[in-house]
């Protein structure tokens, strides 16, 4: 959908801004808000560009830089931290060869830390895109990443 269509769908009232930004980002193949779209959005919603960028940048779910097809978000909050989140980070970092906030050169994975995902019952936990994974261990992570890689290589 074009920016105009999304705005039309919800209406150009300010209170719909976050939902519109969600939709804009979700439809972007690289899961980010690009400047061109935001400029059109500013025009359509009559909200100054600096205000839109200032608002979107407040929320951790929005990104202004392109991200990988698979967005890995590891919970860094205390319950997960105490049950091994730092080790999970290291495992993924070494397996993918990227650090927190980086994207693999093939554009497949982006690694991010996140605040509590609310699935502390299965800590340590992470989400890959909309999918949640819990009780993570080194083997489990390898399995998950390998599965994704395999799926992608078949494409």
């Amino acid at each position: 959908m074009t920016v105009k269509e999304i705005v039309k769908r919800y209406g150009n009232k300010r209170e719909n801004l976050l939902q519109i930004l969600h939709d804009l980002q979700n439809q972007s193949p690289q899961k980010y808000l690009n400047k061109k779209d935001l400029e059109i959005l500013s025009e359509e919603m009559k909200i100054p560009l600096s205000d839109i960028v200032g608002t979107a940048s407040f929320y951790s779910m929005f990104s202004f830089t392109p991200r990988g097809k698979y967005l890995i978000r590891i919970c860094e909050s205390p319950p997960c931290h105490l049950l091994g989140a730092p080790a999970i980070f290291k495992v993924i970092e070494s397996k993918l060869g990227i650090k927190e906030g980086e994207t693999t050169p093939d554009g497949l994975f982006t690694l991010e830390g996140t605040s509590c995902l609310g699935i502390c019952g299965v800590a340590p936990a992470m989400m890959i895109n909309e999918e949640a994974y819990g009780n993570l261990t080194e083997e489990k992570i390898s399995q998950i990443l390998d599965q994704i890689r395999e799926k992608e290589s078949k494409r």
């Binding site: 009232k13 608002t55 951790s60 205390p78 319950p79 105490l82 605040s115 509590c116 699935i119 019952g121």
Partner: protein, 548 residues
């Protein structure tokens, strides 16, 4: 519309935790196996919300006998059906010590006894299919709304809620009836009811499981609140991460609208009420009610100045009542069963129950609902099955912004008043229990990293103070802290508590000050016992101070 009559029901807990372990697959397998045995007309397989135990894989329960099985895998199912359902023997391999909550017999109920298993908020969670409105109606759902609309005035509803003594379950514990009365007395319209489902406090996921397990109860509570304060629109502000909750709430809203339980002329009265969902975008501060309002309006989620309070000028500057998910889930039962009944649970000052998520180094982590006023010791040893490995060291009560308490407080009753008396708070309902392997500094550092990440940045003291405390905890961890590090941390924490813009900023001090109170000796180990040579020219910050 009653619960479908079968001899027995197998309840499969489908929530964000169990889905990860393959709960849906187990459910399908159960249906096929039961059908194979020709038991389909006697035993129903029912999808439900969280049954209680977490981190026990796929959890299923048997109604009415009450036993619970955990870590169920697809491979177990055939054997389970054979053993338990055909032969009638417990399937010991997967049997858990927890029991399904059954009906409460109030005549023998002692609010101080922890063997109590009745529930208010979670009553239907794990018993009914959250995606089937008929089942909710079958257990008395929407009856309270009918009674409210047809038999009671808004004023009577507010009085009832006030008499029940219900207090806000989001953390602050403000009397709910009083809050409603503020919004009710405003003349300006339209008014709004907002359900705060932006559960961001680390370690807390009770609201998620309530929404996943019994979404209609929240809608009913909102509608009753709307009737009481004179609002016709409700919003649920929910975290973007809570996909299953969003999905189930959306379905619940659709179903309720189809049956006329939401929408125009509810129960044939002239009361209209619609519920909409607003999805957050990742910000902890938005759990603070005025920040939530800013976020709902499409602005940066920074807290607003109070006064004016939301009751006076809230969403779009209109009178607004904001309640937490758990608070709203208490409403329908109170209307249905009365204030007197509600007050039989909990303590004089804090009636009712509290839902906790218990986590950490314990045998049975999970979601529990217990009366107000029971002690930490009871929770840890009676409900959580005691410490899993090692010795009890400390507990963080109420999430990352909660107090870090030592063993000496294990016998303190958990209710608003008792905690307040010793200078602590009940917080959000997360209880993190830790053994001696966890270092206080590590816990504080990790918690502070969270606050640095989540501080809205509006007021100086929280924006910079959290970061500087994080630096301090890093130094303590590396054992290179300044001799006056702890005094500085304490002063900083007190500064935050006294001057931060919003309650969340103020609460950053809570874990720090309580840790300093109970674990000072351990924290002191991080100090490097050397003299400081102060620079001769004082135009340098401490980064340049030289250590011997």
């Amino acid at each position: 519309m009653m619960v479908k009559k079968n001899i027995a029901q197998i309840l499969v807990g489908i929530d964000s935790n169990t889905v990860l372990s393959g709960a849906r697959k187990v459910k399908t397998k159960l249906i096929t196996e039961i059908s194979k045995q020709g038991l389909s007309d006697q035993i129903a397989v029912i999808e439900t919300g969280s049954i209680g135990p977490v981190n026990k894989g796929v959890v299923i329960g048997i109604y009415p006998t009450g036993e619970i099985y955990g870590n169920m895998s697809e491979e177990d199912v055939a054997e389970f059906v054979q053993e338990r359902l055909v032969k009638g023997r417990p399937y010991k391999k997967r049997l858990l010590p927890e029991r399904l909550p059954l009906e409460v017999d109030l005549s023998t109920y002692d609010p101080r006894r922890t063997q109590y298993v009745g529930r208010i908020v979670l009553d239907n969670c794990g018993r009914i299919n959250p995606e089937d409105i008929e089942e909710y109606i079958g257990v008395g759902g929407y009856e309270a709304l009918g009674i409210a609309l047809k038999e009671k005035t808004p004023q009577e509803i507010i009085s009832l809620v006030r008499d029940s003594g219900l207090r806000g379950r989001g953390g602050a514990g403000f009397p709910t009836g009083l809050k409603w009365s503020f919004a009710a007395r405003e003349k300006e319209t339209p008014k709004y009811v907002i359900c705060n489902a932006d559960e961001g406090e680390p370690g807390t996921f009770k609201d998620r499981l309530i929404m996943e397990g019994d979404p209609h109860k929240i809608l009913e509570g909102m509608a009753i609140c709307g009737y009481a304060i004179g609002a016709n629109t409700g919003y649920i502000y929910i975290r973007g991460e809570y996909q299953l909750s969003i999905q189930r709430l959306k379905k619940a809203i659709e179903d309720a609208e189809k049956l006329g339980l939401l929408g125009q002329n509810i129960f044939g009265t002239d009361f209209n009420f619609e519920v909409k969902i607003k999805i957050g975008a990742g910000s902890y501060v938005c759990g603070e009610e005025t920040a939530l309002l800013n976020s709902m309006e499409g602005f940066r989620g920074e807290p607003r100045l109070k006064p004016p309070y939301p009751a006076e000028s809230g969403f779009l500057s209109k009178p607004t009542n904001v309640n937490n998910v758990e608070t709203l889930a208490n409403v329908a039962p109170i209307i249905l069963k009365g204030a007197e009944w509600f007050r039989k649970f909990g303590t004089e000052d804090s009636p009712g129950t509290k839902v906790y998520t218990i986590l950490g180094q314990i045998n049975r982590p999970g979601l529990i609902e217990v009366p107000m006023g029971i002690t930490l010791r009871e929770i840890i040893y009676d409900y959580a099955g005691g410490i899993s490995t090692g010795e009890f060291k400390m507990v963080q009560l109420g999430g990352t912004a909660g107090d870090i308490l030592s063993a000496e407080l294990l016998d303190l009753p958990l209710d608003y008043k008792s905690l307040q008396e010793v200078g602590h708070n009940l917080g959000s309902g997360a209880i993190l229990i830790m053994n001696e392997s966890v270092s206080v500094v590590d816990l504080l550092k990790c918690g502070m990293k969270f606050f640095v990440h989540e501080s809205c940045g509006r007021c100086s003291v929280c924006r910079i103070g959290t970061r500087q405390m994080y630096e301090s905890f890093q130094r303590l961890e590396k054992k290179i802290a300044y001799p006056d590090e702890l005094e500085n941390i304490e002063e900083l924490a007190k500064g935050l508590k006294l001057t931060a813009f919003c309650p969340l900023g103020q609460s950053v001090a809570t874990p720090v000050l309580s840790a300093l109170k109970y674990f000072k000796a351990e924290l002191s180990e991080g100090i490097k016992p050397h003299k400081i040579y102060k620079p001769a020219v004082r135009n340098q910050s401490r980064a340049e101070i030289i250590y011997s």
